[in-house]
């Protein structure tokens, strides 16, 4: 009996911990902005829709690489944090992000529990770079 308990207890702890710490979007933007059978929500598609410069398509790490134009203080394209917060928390996208997709802060951020710093998730772009002839 005790042997079973010794095996089950750690397993239960790990299982419980994985629920508490479960993470559906470990890579932030690119974990959510994907192509499905219903629609293609990858960022390269959205870049085309909003007529973003080619720099967006060429960015490898999302959103880390976006900082070269969208840094908080001196980004020539405006602070990314402001742009992303606005686009995800202003109608009509807000309904989609917070309602349909149940998005919230931790979809894009994670807490470093050792330092107390809120970090930004990132991941490699999930589209093939298109070479456009001059």
């Amino acid at each position: 009996m005790m042997r079973v308990a010794r095996i089950l207890a750690p397993a239960l702890l790990v299982f419980t911990g994985s629920i508490v710490l479960g993470d559906d979007y470990p890579q932030g933007c690119v974990s959510c902005h994907v192509s499905t059978e219903q629609q293609d929500m990858r960022l390269n598609v959205i870049f085309d829709q909003i007529e973003h410069s080619r720099a967006g398509q060429r960015t490898l790490l999302i959103p880390t690489g976006c900082q070269r134009c969208h840094a908080d203080e001196d980004g020539v394209g405006g602070a990314l944090s402001t742009l992303i917060h606005r686009s995800h928390y202003t109608d009509p996208i807000k309904e989609k992000f917070t309602g349909e997709f149940n998005g919230d802060c931790v979809s894009c951020h994670k807490m470093d529990t050792d330092t107390g710093q809120a970090e930004i998730r990132s991941g490699k772009r999930n589209w093939q770079l298109r070479i456009v002839p001059e």
Binding site: T82, H85, C105, M111, T113, D114, G116
Partner: protein, 134 residues
């Protein structure tokens, strides 16, 4: 306009108001002081005790919060982001350290939005605040 149509219009308007009120409901509009309360027996709360910030900090040896009127705004007088002990770091650590065992996340379902609010139009993440409750 027929009475039947008017009744339907009124009911629809009332239903819309109800739905929007539910959608924007915020259990912690004032942040810290909405959660850190004096919870007395018979209140129906799961936990009974004095969870207000002043007595909690007194247990840690923190100086008397004599000049604090608005929480956490006034805390920034000593705990600004540029100080040795920024409030954001302290509060994040206290609430998210060891998340699998931290009561904030495990018992109270605490999330970023308990303390923060998003201003969609400006894209600014805000810190909720309220008058001290001690």
């Amino acid at each position: 306009m027929s009475n039947g149509f008017r009744a339907i219009a009124l009911i629809s308007a009332a239903a819309l108001l109800t739905v929007s009120a539910v959608a924007v409901a915020d259990s912690y509009p004032q942040g810290c002081v909405d959660c850190h309360v004096l919870s007395e027996s018979g209140s129906g709360n799961k936990y009974v005790g004095d969870f207000r910030i002043e007595p909690l900090l007194a247990q840690t040896g923190h100086r008397w919060l004599r000049k604090i009127k608005t929480v956490p705004d006034d805390c920034s007088k000593c705990h600004s982001d540029d100080s040795d002990l920024p409030l954001s770091t302290i509060v994040h650590l206290v609430h998210f350290e060891k998340p699998a065992a931290n009561l904030y996340t495990t018992e109270f379902g605490g999330k970023c939005a308990n303390c923060h609010a998003m201003d969609g139009p400006s894209g600014e993440s805000l810190v909720k605040s309220g008058p001290k409750n001690w």
